[in-house]
Amino acid sequence: MDDKQIIAKRIAMELNDGDLVNLGIGIPTLVADYIEPGKTIVFHSENGVVGMGPYIDENTYIVNAGGNKASVLKGGAFIDSLMSFSMIRGGHISVTVLGALEVDIEGNVASWIVPGKRVPGMGGAMDLVEGAKKVIIAMTHTNKGQPKILTRCRLPLTAANQVDMIVTEMAVMSVEKDGLHLKEVHPNYSIEEVLKATEAPLIIDQVIPMKGIEL
């Protein structure tokens, strides 16, 4: 498994049977490939599908939130953007998984703009981070060695104090009132290596090997 797959597989373990889940573009999309057998997860796609399915080779008008061809599963529904975001903002999404440029110890996240460089826009990310019951950030631990887990985000925020959990290829961290707790570390790395790759201080109580990793 490569880094992205490690992250996706670990996050899939956080999803519970019956959850309504919105996956962002990039690594989050891969989470759908690792749902454990026996769990029924319903995927919400903010462009207007409840019960989103994978790409199928059929002529349809169904796309996902990345604009790519997708499908609707049995029992699914097509909805308009007002209903879609009523579900997101009204707290009806159990979990959202999103990528990020930076996250910090207060659960702030920056993911939509690098001023002067890239301004893709926030799309539905601000609504998802603000409205979903649980927010999991899926990202590589650093940007080519540059820490992305910070004491305080430097880039403009997507939302403040909303992140619950961060999963990288190195570790699993939870955001709590007193800061970031290091919960799990991938067996390929030592706690020291994780701390070194992290700008933010990490609180260490009990650290276990990252769940779901087969050596």
Partner: protein
């Protein structure tokens, strides 16, 4: 509905400086024929309200390429590099609105509301120049309604009365913009005799014109 119109009649509805809402999500559900006619008309200094900037050759992106747009209100512009280029050179003014906020602002415009209060965008740069209203000790951003002179609807199944339903994920913003413009023109992907009253999404009194199928 007032009736079916052809290319020439549609172009006669167009004027410089119009505010035009366009349906579609990454061009899925955008009315490509209507957009082509806006290009053909050569009208300029437009304000376009759409979920995103589309692509240079699809969706509202085609109007960006021709420099007909003065101002774009959208949630995402990352798929159309021309938007970024014209923003940098100050040829295009872009207002980014979170997608759920955009949907609610259009709903507010269509439903005669003076605005809505949302947590989305609080503590981010979306908050700039906006009023914060506190309700029961919780702060919210006041987001104001959006209305347009013209709404261009895509992805529609139209019946002979002018009722509309939408095909799959092409629904997205289309049913919402149908209430928020002085004049509503739909491009049908499919024409049927009659839509079951239970399945009509946009009742015909909301629709002014349907673009006749190509001869």
């Amino acid at each position: 509905m007032k009736g079916r119109i052809d290319k020439t009649e549609f172009i006669q509805l167009l004027q410089d400086k119009m505010t035009i809402m366009v349906g579609g999500f990454l061009a899925n559900g955008s009315p490509e024929r209507l957009i082509d006619l806006v290009v053909e008309s050569g009208i300029k200094d437009l304000t376009i309200i759409c979920n995103d900037g589309g692509f240079p050759d699809r969706g509202v992106g085609k109007l960006i390429e021709t420099r007909q747009v003065k101002r774009l209100i959208a949630s995402h512009i990352g798929t159309n590099p021309t938007v970024g280029v014209l923003m940098q050179s100050n040829e295009l003014e872009v207002e980014l609105s979170p997608q759920g906020t955009l949907a609610e602002r259009i709903h507010a415009g269509g439903a005669g509301l003076g605005g809505i209060l949302t947590k989305t965008g609080l503590n981010t740069i979306v908050e700039e120049k906006k009023r914060v209203i506190i309700v029961e000790d919780i702060p919210y951003l006041l987001e104001t309604p959006l209305k347009a002179d013209l709404a261009l609807i895509g992805g529609a199944v139209a019946d002979k009365y002018g009722n509309l339903a939408y095909l799959q994920t092409m629904r997205n913003f289309n049913p919402i913009i149908a209430l928020a413009a002085d004049c509503v023109v739909a491009e049908a992907v499919q024409e049927v005799d009659e839509i079951d009253p239970e399945h009509v999404i946009t009742p015909h009194p909301l629709v002014d014109y349907i673009l006749a199928e190509e001869q």
